[in-house]
Symmetry: C2
Subunit: 248 residues, 2 copies
Amino acid sequence: MLQDENVKSPQECADCPIRHRAVCARCEADELEALEQVKYYRNFEAGQTVIWSGDTMDFVGSVVSGIATLTQTMEDGRTQMVGLLLPSDFVGRPGREGAAYDVVATTDMVMCCFRKKPFEQLMEKTPHIAQRLLEMTLDELDAAREWMLVLGRKTAREKIASLLTIIARRDATLNLRPAEGALVFDLPLTREAMADYLGLTLETVSRQISALKRDGIIHLEGKRHVTIPDFSRLMEEAGDDSDGGMLA
Amino acid sequence: MLQDENVKSPQECADCPIRHRAVCARCEADELEALEQVKYYRNFEAGQTVIWSGDTMDFVGSVVSGIATLTQTMEDGRTQMVGLLLPSDFVGRPGREGAAYDVVATTDMVMCCFRKKPFEQLMEKTPHIAQRLLEMTLDELDAAREWMLVLGRKTAREKIASLLTIIARRDATLNLRPAEGALVFDLPLTREAMADYLGLTLETVSRQISALKRDGIIHLEGKRHVTIPDFSRLMEEAGDDSDGGMLA
DNA sequence: GGCCCTCTTTGACCCAGATCAAGCGCGCGA
DNA sequence: TCGCGCGCTTGATCTGGGTCAAAGAGGGCC
């Protein structure tokens, strides 16, 4: 397995692409200064494991670019993805020793890491960090609960449509485009990873994607490049409330 | 439908049964004082709805006694429970207008409510509250993610065993008994509510409970009174990691 | 250019859990 | 005391998605 390389920051916080969305979003200049003291960047390659569940973590941090997944595995190998980490998402839990889940980079990824101890101390003194972290955690809790509905009650077709909906929305927000009408994006996940997210098998994922394609809900170029001609039709397929579908 | 009655506090915070576990757990005497200014108690009867999803909430609060559920419903009626609120659990989200889920009391229940606006202001000034809320939210996020594994990957039998495990543990902590060896408790949920939690039908819940009974994993007196002769056997059935199974 | 490896698609068949349908039993109100 | 209703159990049957199997489709490396 390749060793990741700790590289010096290629940039200042000031022109960081996730400056206004990550844990540091509310920080003032002096608070950022303090964070910079304990921060460093790490690069991961697609497929590389960031942390194994149970390992002790000596850092927390934010995804700067790329995508990672949070997964849980049972002894017999059944696995369930419990989170999808996109740029600005936070990794790790202040106040906890070990990692609770496996974190794996699914694309090349850059993380902005903070040494855990000093970060925790900083949090005590800097309400702006704790406030933002609370806000982000509440959002993640909402996302997790929405996902519980998907896992518990939706059909395979609805599950796929729900996942596409989420990826399309996140992609749109990231690129500051409205999530409506026609959308184009690349799937950041393999069929197997989608299956792990959705509580399905990869065969079922493949079949349902083919079905959605056949029905004209989506178009595919290659395996990964998706075009959604009509986003509201996709949302109907997802069984979501048929409102405007605005994002948080 | 019966109207709930707003009653004056039957007790001081000082001798509140959830004093050391709720949002107020870390508060000093003077901070408690401030909280008391904006707090009031509400009683709910079994079956009564606390809030409907989408309703505007003018309060947040803690469950003092009794049990409530958090559920999400699709237009066609499919419902998924996304949270089980036991004593000391927090209801509502600071900074959000409307409720995101239906909250229903499944037993008679007492809530300690805080008027939302003043509570939010208090949170700004009182890091102890925000800190504790962050901690509780992180715990809930962990619980939600553990539940995602249950919903996505476990069999019906494992799901039932998992639910019993959780209820038994929570009951044990609440009553300050260790979760090991033989355990006795009452199910706080109907078969239908269990089905909604587990992403199953009530028939399947009933059948699997009968099966666990037949196999001697559990004993039943009446429909609700459960005895677990050997907790570790139940945990095996749940497919959980077979460690000591300590609680958070 | 050819080979191999990983990701994906598609087909055939099977089974866990859903659905449909009876019936039981306990508690409550008349 | 009766009977009604709700929560629960159990049986019979159906089906969506899992399992097993085979083969296409890139893409990178020699």
